[in-house]
C-alpha cells in the first residue's frame, strides 16, 4: 500500500513537476504567468491521440507529434501575448494568456468535439511486483520520463551556453541584451521549452485518465501551487515541491480519503504564502528581481 501510493504519487507529481518547471521558466525569462498552460496539456494529449487513432501512427511518433504541435503553439503564443505587451501592466499580460487559453480550449472543442478520447501509454500496461506491492509500468514510465525531462531542463539551464543566456535574460534582460544576448529569441525559446514540457505532461498523463478538454485544468493549477510552495525563484525547488505534492496527495487519498484531496495543494499554497512566502527552497520574495 505504501509503495503503491508512493509510486502513484511520484507519477502524478512528475506531471506537476513538468508543468511547474515550464511555467517557472517562462515566468523567469519573460515575466509572464502563462495561464494557458493547462491547454497545452490538452493539445499535446489530443494531437497524440488523434494521430494515433486516425493517422495510425505508432504511439511514440504520435507522442512526439503531439509535443511538437504544442511547441509550435507555444511559439505562436509568444507573438500575441508577450511581444505586444512586454512593457505593459502585468494584469494585461495575464488576461492575454487567459484569452489564448479560451481560444485554444474552444479550438480543441471545435476540432475534437466534446467526446472523451483515449490514448494508450507507450509502454504495455503490466503490473510489476515491487517490494511486495503491485505497481503499474505506466506509472513507472511517467516517473522515468518526467524525471529525465526535468533533469534535462536543469542541465540545459546550468551546463550549456544557451542555458546561461536564458539565465542571464532571467536575471536582467536589459544587461543581457547589452552583452549581445538576443533576448527576444531567448524568450521564444523559453516559450517553446515550456510548451514542450506541458505537451509531454499531456501525452504522459492521458493514459491515466481519458483525453478530455479539461484534462489540464486542475493539473496546471496544482503545478502553479507547487511553484509557490517550492519557492518561486527556484526551478529545482519547484520540481521537488511538485513531486512532494503528488506524494502527499496520494497518501492522503489512500489513507485518509479522497474527499478533500484537491484542497491540499491550494491549502498548502496559502499556508506557505502566510507562514513562509519564500517557499521551501527560495531565498527571496517579491517581484521579479
Amino acid at each position: 500500500m505504501i509503495v503503491q501510493a508512493l509510486v502513484s504519487g511520484l507519477a502524478i507529481g512528475g506531471i506537476y513537476a513538468l508543468l511547474a518547471v515550464g511555467f517557472l521558466l517562462t515566468y523567469q525569462v519573460s515575466g509572464l504567468l502563462n495561464f494557458a498552460q493547462s491547454e497545452f496539456v490538452m493539445i499535446g494529449a489530443f494531437v497524440a491521440s488523434a494521430a494515433a487513432a486516425t493517422l495510425g501512427l505508432p504511439l511514440v511518433a504520435a507522442g512526439v507529434l503531439g509535443i511538437g504541435v504544442t511547441a509550435v503553439v507555444g511559439v505562436l503564443m509568444e507573438r500575441v501575448t508577450y511581444r505586444p505587451l512586454r512593457n505593459k501592466p502585468h494584469a494585461s499580460m495575464i488576461i492575454s494568456t487567459v484569452a489564448v487559453g479560451i481560444i485554444l480550449a474552444q479550438a480543441g472543442h471545435l476540432i475534437w468535439g466534446p467526446q472523451p478520447r483515449s490514448l494508450p501509454s507507450m509502454v504495455p500496461n503490466v503490473s510489476l511486483d515491487l517490494f511486495g506491492a503491485r505497481v503499474s509500468t505506466v506509472s513507472l514510465f511517467i516517473i522515468v520520463v518526467a524525471v529525465a525531462l526535468v533533469v534535462g531542463q536543469h542541465l540545459l539551464l546550468t551546463r550549456t551556453r544557451l542555458g546561461r543566456q536564458l539565465q542571464a535574460t532571467a536575471v536582467d534582460s536589459d544587461t543581457a541584451q547589452l552583452m549581445g544576448i538576443r533576448t527576444g529569441l531567448l524568450v521564444i525559446i523559453a516559450f517553446a521549452i515550456s510548451a514542450v514540457m506541458a505537451g509531454a505532461a499531456g501525452v504522459l498523463v492521458a493514459p491515466l485518465f481519458s483525453v478530455t478538454l479539461g484534462l489540464g485544468t486542475l493539473i496546471a493549477l496544482k503545478a502553479f501551487a507547487a511553484t509557490v510552495i517550492g519557492g518561486f525563484g527556484s526551478l529545482p525547488g519547484a520540481a521537488i515541491a511538485a513531486f512532494g505534492l503528488g506524494i502527499v496527495e496520494q497518501f492522503v487519498g489512500s489513507f485518509i480519503g479522497t474527499g478533500n484531496r484537491d484542497l491540499i495543494a491550494f491549502g498548502l499554497l496559502l499556508v506557505f504564502l502566510v507562514a513562509r512566502p519564500q517557499g521551501l527552497f527560495g531565498s527571496k520574495v517579491g517581484e521579479k528581481l
Partner: protein, 332 residues
C-alpha cells in the same frame, strides 16, 4: 501679489454635471429597466449591472491600489452562499441576508488581505487564485453546508419587506444598487483614502515616506473589493434564486479582472464599460453558436493587445484628439 486660486480648475459645466449626473443616471437606469419589453435582454442587462458592482469593487483593489486579485469569484461565492443560506435555512429577510453576505465577504477579504501585505504583482495573483480554488472546492465538497453539487435553491424572500417579483422589479432594484455602487466607488477614489491608495500603487516607498500606512491601505483595498464582490454575489443569488458551485470558478474571477483591465483600470467608468461590454459580448455572439467562445477569446486578446490601457482610456484619447481638432478648427 498674485492670489493663488484655491478653487479647483475643473470647468463649471463639469461641476454641474457631477451634481446632476447621478440622479440622471439613476433615472436612466430605472427608465431602461421599465422600458425594455424583452425579458431576455433585461435579464442580460441585470447580469451586466451585477457584474458592474463586482468590477467597480475590483477597481478599488486593483485599479486604484494596484493589488491584482484572481480570487474575486471566491468573494462572489461567499456573498451568494451566505445570502442564500440565511434566506433558505433561517428564513431571514433578503435585505438582512444581503447585508450579512457583504459583511462576511468583507471579513474573508480582511483575512486574505494579510498575506497580500507580503506579496506583490504575480505572487499576489497566484495567492488569490489559490484562495478562489479553495472556495470553489469547498462549495463542492462540504455538502453539509453548501448543498454540494446541488447548491442552494429557492432563494426567494422580500427585500426589507419589499417584494421583488417581476424581472422589471429586479431591473430597477439592481440598477439602483449598481449606480449607488459606482457613486460610492467614485467618492472613495477622491477621498483621502483613495489618494493614499493611488500613492501606494504608484510607489510604496514614497507613500510610506509620506506617512501612509501600507498595511492599512492594502488591507482596506482588499476588504472593499471583497465587500462589493460579496454584494454582487448576493444580488446574483437573489436574482436567479439559486446558487450552485459551477458558477464560481476561476473563469468568473478572470472575467471580473478582464472587465477592469479591458475597460480600463485607470477609472471606475472603465470597470463599468468593461463589465457591460464583456457581459453583452457573449450574448451578442450567441447566433454564431459554437464559435462564440472562440470569437470571444479572440476579441478579448485583440482588446488587450491593442488597447492595453483599456477601452475607457482609449475612448478618452480619441475624444481628446477629436476635441483638440475641433477647437483648433474653431480658432482658425
Amino acid at each position: 501679489m498674485t492670489a493663488i486660486s484655491v478653487t479647483s480648475t475643473v470647468p463649471r459645466w463639469r461641476t454641474a454635471a457631477s451634481l446632476l449626473g447621478w440622479p440622471v443616471l439613476a433615472a436612466l437606469v430605472v427608465g431602461v429597466a421599465l422600458g425594455i419589453d424583452d425579458n431576455y435582454w433585461l435579464q442580460v442587462l441585470i447580469s451586466a449591472e451585477i457584474m458592474v458592482v463586482a468590477a467597480v469593487g475590483l477597481y478599488i483593489t486593483f485599479g486604484l491600489s494596484g493589488q491584482v486579485s484572481l480570487g474575486q469569484a471566491g468573494f462572489f461565492a461567499v456573498g451568494g452562499y451566505v445570502t442564500g443560506l440565511l434566506v433558505t435555512r433561517l428564513a431571514l429577510d433578503y435585505g438582512v441576508a444581503l447585508v450579512a453576505g457583504i459583511v462576511i465577504s468583507a471579513l474573508v477579504g480582511l483575512a486574505l488581505g494579510f498575506p497580500s501585505l507580503r506579496l506583490r504583482g504575480n505572487f499576489l495573483a497566484l495567492a488569490t487564485l489559490g484562495f478562489g480554488q479553495i472556495v470553489a472546492l469547498v462549495l463542492i465538497n462540504w455538502t453539509w453546508l453548501t448543498g454540494g453539487a446541488n447548491g442552494v435553491r429557492n432563494i426567494i424572500a422580500p427585500f426589507f419587506g419589499l417584494e421583488l417579483r417581476t424581472i422589471p422589479d429586479w431591473g430597477v432594484f439592481v440598477g439602483l444598487i449598481a449606480v449607488a455602487s459606482v457613486f460610492v466607488v467614485t467618492r472613495i477614489r477622491s477621498s483621502s483614502f483613495g489618494r493614499a491608495m493611488q500613492a501606494v500603487r504608484d510607489s510604496e516607498v514614497a507613500a510610506s515616506a509620506m506617512g501612509i500606512s501600507l498595511a492599512r491601505v492594502k488591507i482596506l483595498a482588499f476588504v472593499i473589493g471583497a465587500a462589493f464582490a460579496g454584494l454582487a454575489g448576493g444580488l446574483n443569488a437573489g436574482f436567479v434564486t439559486y446558487v450552485s458551485p459551477g458558477t464560481y470558478d476561476l473563469a468568473l474571477s478572470v472575467s471580473i479582472l478582464a472587465m477592469v483591465v479591458v475597460g480600463g483600470a485607470s477609472s471606475p467608468w472603465g470597470a463599468v464599460v468593461g463589465a457591460v461590454l464583456l457581459t453583452f459580448l457573449p450574448e451578442v455572439l450567441r447566433p454564431v453558436q459554437e464559435y462564440y467562445l472562440l470569437i470571444y477569446g479572440v476579441l478579448l486578446l485583440l482588446m488587450v493587445d491593442f488597447a492595453p490601457g483599456g477601452i475607457w482610456a482609449f475612448l478618452r484619447r480619441v475624444a481628446g484628439v477629436v476635441i483638440g481638432f475641433v477647437s483648433k478648427g474653431a480658432r482658425s
